[in-house]
């Protein structure tokens, strides 16, 4: 069974890429083929997710000891194609791959070392995002069903490339591979906005989007390379591109330095934290643009507004999540001390400001599409806060919110296709009283709008409550977390303000509608619209009623990050980790088999052990108090 899932997982990435190649050849039939492929992809993903749920359920609450050489908390991907082991979890699977794309050394490829690998896998953090990529593709295609008549082959081809890039990035466990997929999404997005956009500003919007995100992500590349170079294996000095190995190296290095710190030598730790600060800045540069976090959001309204609505669905549901996922996958585990020290105070403040700012901007818009675009800024600010709370509640909530926001906001955008197909406009001032004209459409719009304002029973409520709880869990001294929680709660209130105002303008009041595009009077939801949007609305309710289905499988990986966060908090506060919480790294030490790189309970300095040839910069002014 297990090896089958590896093939299926490979298909999840390769199917969209293959479709991207094939679709341009299909001509007029492209949209049917595209729908078929997206449904096929949905099936494959469903199989992978079901398999992953079983594999993840085996892990339980804590990361199983015995999977790795030390007891460090790691990401442990499942279903890795090219895994040298044959069986399933605990049955020989190593969670590593042999498929090396590029090796920077003459050493054998199957030993850990500086190899860029095709290393993909599923774990608790990405499984639902991959599912999201697959689920949202169907409404994205159906939302373009009528509108995308110009060169449909190319259009759907680029759409699948976009999806493939996003799926690949979510699945990657190799930092370079991640970066390649991460950047790959830019190209299709650029052509889709610039080539198929509706308005006159589409070229400008596409250029701005491309340059802005590229400028940010080039800094991220610097950050990624920096992390790799400065965190070699403390024993062998070899650098690695594998994310789990890199995590371990970072933890080991910090442990050693913290050992020194506790025995009275603060130099190494200060140096490490100082370095982390710069790496944090570089990594965050790209992710903050991609999310986006205020004030790096100015590409967003133009891009979301100018893109064809199906593309906007993908942009908001998938691409925005790449940024937050980058924070989750890279920033938190690779620069934990900086994430603790600067995450909430600096980035969190910007994000909190963005929550309120985005809400006010959304209220000020006259176009529904732009309003939802700005509401994304507001919601994702909340998500960033949840991530940097760096504890179980906040992280679970944030991962869940990535899915929830993807579904509800993506569905909102998709639903706009209804208006665009009939009237070619989404200007609020031209509509009124649609509740009587289109009761079906109105019902779906109400469900999605209420989901977006966090009505309990619908999906966003759960993740927002979890993130709020994460912000309350004040474990860092001197952090204004309740203040951020208040801002976040006010953000929920403001979201109700602009959403209900939109509903009032468009669906209440006497009937008012602009001239229709076609000769015949437009009718209520057609069957394919009902299927696409109604399914998403029902999904919102199901996710809101049974969220534990999603939270359960991510427990082990969230616990790993939470443990990293706890250790980082101790280091930043400069206190001895005397608490022994069960998932903590230090207490699980004795249970791990033959810990090679690490002493038992207390992080003892390994006699100023080798810090490797990675080039430690000289300690500058001590930061990270």
């Amino acid at each position: 069974m297990y090896p089958t899932f590896r093939i299926l997982l490979l298909l999840v990435v390769l199917l969209p890429l293959a479709a991207a190649v094939v679709l341009p050849l299909c001509g007029r039939a492209a949209r049917r083929v595209a729908l078929l492929v997206s449904l096929l992809h949905l099936g494959v993903t469903a199989a992978v997710v079901l398999g992953a749920l079983q594999a993840l359920a085996l892990r339980g609450e804590h990361v199983l000891p015995g999977r790795d050489v030390t007891s460090y908390q790691l990401f442990q991907p499942e279903f890795v194609p090219g895994d040298p082991g044959v069986g399933g979890a605990g049955d020989g699977a190593t969670g590593r791959t042999r498929w090396t794309l590029l090796s920077l050394t003459d050493a054998p490829v199957d030993k850990p070392g500086p190899h860029v690998q095709f290393f993909i896998g599923v774990d608790g953090l990405n499984v639902w995002l991959v599912a999201l990529c697959s689920v949202m593709m169907v409404p994205a295609i159906l939302a373009s069903w009528v509108a995308a008549t110009d060169r449909p082959g190319g259009f759907y081809g680029w759409m699948f490339l976009l999806q493939g890039g996003a799926v690949g990035a979510f699945l990657s466990f190799d930092v370079i591979l991640f970066y390649v997929f991460f950047e790959l999404t830019l190209i299709p997005a650029f052509f889709l906005i610039g080539g198929w956009g509706a308005g006159s500003g589409r070229r400008d919007a596409a250029r701005k989007f491309f340059l802005y995100t590229l400028a940010g992500s080039l800094l991220t590349l610097v950050g990624v390379i920096g992390v790799v170079l400065t965190n070699p294996d403390p024993r062998s000095g070899a650098i690695t591109f594998s994310l789990p190995d890199l995590m371990m190296n970072v933890q080991r290095g910090l442990d050693l330095a913290f050992g020194e710190f506790l025995s009275g030598n603060p130099g190494p730790l200060a140096a490490k934290q100082d370095l982390q600060f710069w790496l944090f800045v570089c990594l965050m540069a790209g992710f903050m643009v991609k999310v986006p976090v205020w004030p790096f959001h100015t590409w967003l309204p133009a891009a979301y507004n100018e893109a064809p609505v199906g593309v906007t669905v993908l942009l908001s549901a998938l691409l925005a999540k790449l940024g937050t996922f980058g924070i989750l996958r890279f920033v938190l585990p690779l620069t934990p001390d900086a994430a603790v020290a600067y995450g909430l105070p600096a980035v969190g403040t910007l994000a909190a400001f963005g929550i309120v700012y985005g809400a006010f901007c959304a209220y000020g818009q006259r176009d529904v599409k732009l309003m939802i675009a700005y509401s994304s800024l507001s919601h994702l600010g909340f998500l960033v806060l949840g991530l940097f709370a760096f504890n179980t509640e906040g992280l679970s909530g944030a991962v869940l919110h990535m899915v929830n926001h993807g579904v509800s906001t993506g569905a909102m955008f998709a639903l706009l296709a209804f208006l665009l197909d009939r009237y070619r406009t989404t200007d609020m001032r031209q509509f009124g009283g649609l509740m009587g004209r289109y009761p079906g459409f109105a019902f779906l719009a109400f469900v999605l709008a209420l989901a977006s304002i966090g009505l309990p029973g619908l999906n966003n409520f759960v993740s927002e409550m979890l993130m709020l709880a994460g912000l309350y869990d004040a474990r860092i001294p001197g952090m204004h977390r309740p203040g951020l929680a208040v801002v976040a709660a006010v953000g929920i209130l403001l979201s109700a303000w602009y959403m209900l105002t939109m509903l009032q303008r468009v669906f209440f009041n006497p009937l008012r509608e602009p001239p229709a595009t076609g000769p015949q009077t437009p009718t209520d939801l057609t069957r394919h619209e009902l299927l696409a949007f109604g399914g998403l609305a029902a999904l919102c309710l199901l996710l809101g009623l049974f969220p534990q289905t999603l939270i359960g499988p991510m427990k082990a990986d969230v616990a790993a990050l939470d443990a990293i966060g706890d250790l980082a908090r101790d280091r930043v506060a400069g206190r001895r980790p005397d608490l022994g919480p069960p998932p903590s790294l230090n207490t699980t030490g004795p249970t791990g088999p033959a810990p090679k790189g690490k002493g038992g309970g207390e992080p003892k300095g390994k006699g100023g052990g080798p810090k490797g040839g990675g080039g430690m910069p000289p300690p500058a002014s001590p930061k990270g108090e």
């Binding site: 340059l211 802005y212 006010f360 209220y363 679970s396 709020l468 009032q504 299927l531 427990k555």
Partner: protein, 687 residues
């Protein structure tokens, strides 16, 4: 079946089934697909792809049956539940096993319900009142059959959801679950107030109701999480209260948490300063107003504070805030009600005022025994539900007969035209005014007594209870006056009807008058039966474990309810005085003449103290201005980003002339550069 939890869950299930069943009758294909999708996505997909999407209009006309049957059955079950709980003896509480909703780290939300005297009495009240309102609605909303968009089904589906949410709210034993039902109630009120969606005033009122209550809910949610951190990371009410009892947290933090929780109650129960949504909420169909004002929605806030008595009992400052907010609201709303010309608006402000009374009683929680304070508040809530539902339904009957007109200046003398409505309205008005022996009299007396006892006690804020007692008495007089002003203006004098009513304005059909009669009996008799001589109500409610816990925490002695002749006499005098003044001024049925010296006061009351205008200037306008400024600033940010992006191009333009292709120029610049460099080096060395 005598298992209390089973009964309670059956009630919830019945109401939910009614919602689903009504939704399935909807002419809206999206609604039906949605409902089917929850049961089976596959069936929904098939339905969406294959089935006929329209529905038989005859089925639509039966849309009221699920609600009526479910409510009626629930009311019967609720009475049985009441008897079961009463038979179970002292300190009885049934908590259902928690079923996880979501859980991560220390936050755990679960589906868990509690049945105790407090929740069972609420449940009985809600389902009983809702049954009669549902029956009345089926008559009142009959005209909606003819509307093309089939609002009839929408109305009854949302009503079912409304009653379901309210029942869930009083049964929930987990704060996040409670928030779920709490917001569900808010959503249903939003949809029902905005029922006439093509009416701009209704649309605005619906949004206002949702947003203003949401403002309070923001505080509520923040309060819940603060309690979560203080109360050992519990969100289950029973566990949280037990934890707080064993480990009392810092008083300042607990006061903050209680006040934040109280924010939610202020919003939902329409207290000052968030009461502004309730008077506008009458834009919905009149039975909806009856439901909102009597049984559901506004009672949620009172219930919440009563339920959280173990927390509020610990913090005297929070109690004082509750009492003061209640007092201010009571007198303010009564003042505004004095000069309203819209019959429903008078009733709406009287609801706000009476809710203030309930919070006055709750505020004395620490000064008298919490059991007594909560009993007074809940008893007033209980009797108020009867007469306020009655008054609203009666005014709905008037509105129905008057062709949608509810302005008291345009009709009078209706007692001859609508005898049943007149009689029942009189019962309700007399009960609201607190005329002796009617139900409002007994409950109001209990509130006044709680205040008096609080003032005599040793509470740190005992002094303010004296003042609040005075406020409550003045309010009582004003209540009697404005209630009977509305009564005389509507039913006395010569017969006048507006032209919208047609030529033969007549009494409403039996389906509407029977509920009026039933509720009138309740409004007259429920008070005297339940409390003053039998002490059933206080005895029953006194068995609530949460209230007993609160009593132990507050350390106040148990107070037996004894009839207070002095207070009762004063309040009787005030009520009769109010009625008398109203008769002198309006006994002829209008038109209204205001004595010249009272003109400014009248205008102030008529214009609702200009509160809406003040809010518009202080909150709405600035928010809109901020939104505009945010938009402008966003353009500025965008141009800033463009400016930064233009720097490379600008630099490129600037240095481009250097690349002019002239070899001589390159040679010259090389030579010059070398010279500068060399001279620099020489200069450095020679120093």
């Amino acid at each position: 079946m005598s298992d209390p939890l089973g009964l309670a869950l059956t009630i919830l299930g019945l109401l939910l089934a009614a919602t689903v069943l009504t939704a399935l009758l909807s002419g809206n294909a999206a609604v039906r697909t949605f409902v089917i999708a929850l049961a089976s996505p596959k069936a929904a997909a098939q339905f969406a792809l294959r089935s006929e999407l329209t529905i038989n209009p005859l089925l639509v006309r039966a849309a009221h049956w699920p609600l009526i049957v479910a409510c009626g059955a629930s009311a019967v079950l609720a009475v049985q539940l009441l008897l079961t709980v009463a038979a179970a003896g002292d300190s009885v509480r049934f908590v259902s096993d928690p079923l996880t909703w979501f859980e991560a780290g220390k936050l755990k939300a679960s589906f868990t319900f509690v049945v105790d005297p407090l929740s069972s009495i609420m449940l009985a009240m809600i389902t009983f009142i809702a049954t009669w309102i549902a029956i009345f609605s089926s008559g009142y909303m009959r005209d909606e059959h003819h509307r093309p968009d089939r609002g009839y089904v929408r109305y009854f589906a949302v009503m079912s959801l409304f009653v379901f949410s309210m029942c869930g709210l009083v049964l929930a034993n987990n704060f996040l679950l409670l928030v779920g039902f709490w917001e569900g109630v808010g959503l249903c009120s939003y949809l029902l107030i905005g029922y006439y969606y093509d009416k701009p005033s209704a649309a605005a009122a619906a949004r206002k109701a949702f947003l203003v209550t949401r403002l309070g809910d923001t505080g509520f949610i923040l309060g819940i999480f603060l309690l979560w951190t203080l109360g050992g990371w519990h969100t289950d009410l029973t566990a949280l209260f037990d934890h707080i009892q064993k480990n009392p947290p810092d008083t300042a933090a607990l006061t903050t948490a209680c006040l934040l929780i109280f924010c939610g109650a202020v919003g939902k129960s329409a207290q000052f300063p968030l009461y502004v949504w309730l008077p506008d909420a009458m834009e919905g169909p009149t039975p909806v107003s009856a439901l909102i004002h009597a049984a559901t929605m506004v009672t949620a806030g009172v219930y919440l504070v009563a339920r959280c008595a173990p927390l509020f009992a610990l913090v005297p400052d929070a109690q004082a805030v509750v009492a003061w907010i209640g007092g201010i609201t009571a007198i303010l709303a009564a003042f505004i009600a004095l000069a309203q010309t819209d019959l429903k608006r008078v009733l709406a402000y009287s609801t706000v005022s009476q809710l203030g009374y309930m919070f006055l009683a709750l505020g004395t929680m620490g000064a008298v025994a919490p059991v007594f304070a909560v009993t007074a508040a809940m008893f007033h809530l209980f009797t108020h539900a009867f007469f306020k539902a009655l008054l609203f339904l009666a005014s709905g009957s008037v509105m129905h007969a008057m062709g949608g007109v509810i302005d008291m200046r345009r009709f009078s003398g209706l007692r001859k035209v609508m005898p049943v409505t007149h009689l029942t309205f009189l019962c309700g008005a007399a009960a609201l005014a607190g005329l002796p022996l009617l139900s409002g009299f007994w409950s109001k007396d209990m509130v006044l007594e709680a205040l008096q006892l609080g003032a005599e006690g040793s509470h740190p804020h005992a002094g303010s209870f004296y003042l609040l007692l005075l406020v409550a008495l003045v309010t009582a007089g004003m209540t009697a006056f404005y209630t009977f002003r509305a009564y005389f203006l509507t039913f006395w004098g010569e017969v006048r009807t507006p032209e919208e009513a047609g030529h033969h304005a007549h009494e409403s059909p039996a389906v509407m008058t029977v509920p009026l009669l039933v509720l009138a009996v309740g409004a007259v008799g429920v008070g005297i039966v339940a409390e003053p001589f039998t002490h059933w109500f206080s005895g029953f409610l006194g068995h609530t474990p949460a209230l007993q816990l609160a009593g132990r925490l507050a350390g106040a002695a148990d107070v037996a309810h004894h009839f207070n002749w002095g207070l009762a006499g004063v309040s009787t005098l005030l009520a009769l005085g109010g009625v008398g003044v109203a008769y002198m001024a309006y006994g002829t049925g209008g038109p209204e003449r205001v004595p010249a010296p009272l003109e400014p006061v009248y205008a102030l009351s008529r214009n609702k103290l200009y509160v809406d205008e003040i809010y518009y200037a202080l909150v709405v306008k600035p928010a809109e201005w901020l939104a505009f400024m945010a938009r402008v600033f966003d353009l500025f940010l965008d141009s800033l980003a463009r400016l930064l992006a233009a720097v490379p191009r600008f630099v490129g333009n600037w240095v481009r002339p250097i690349q002019n292709g002239l070899v001589q120029f390159y040679a010259l610049s090389m030579a010059l550069g070398l010279a500068v460099f060399l001279s620099f080096v020489v200069f450095r060395i020679s120093r």
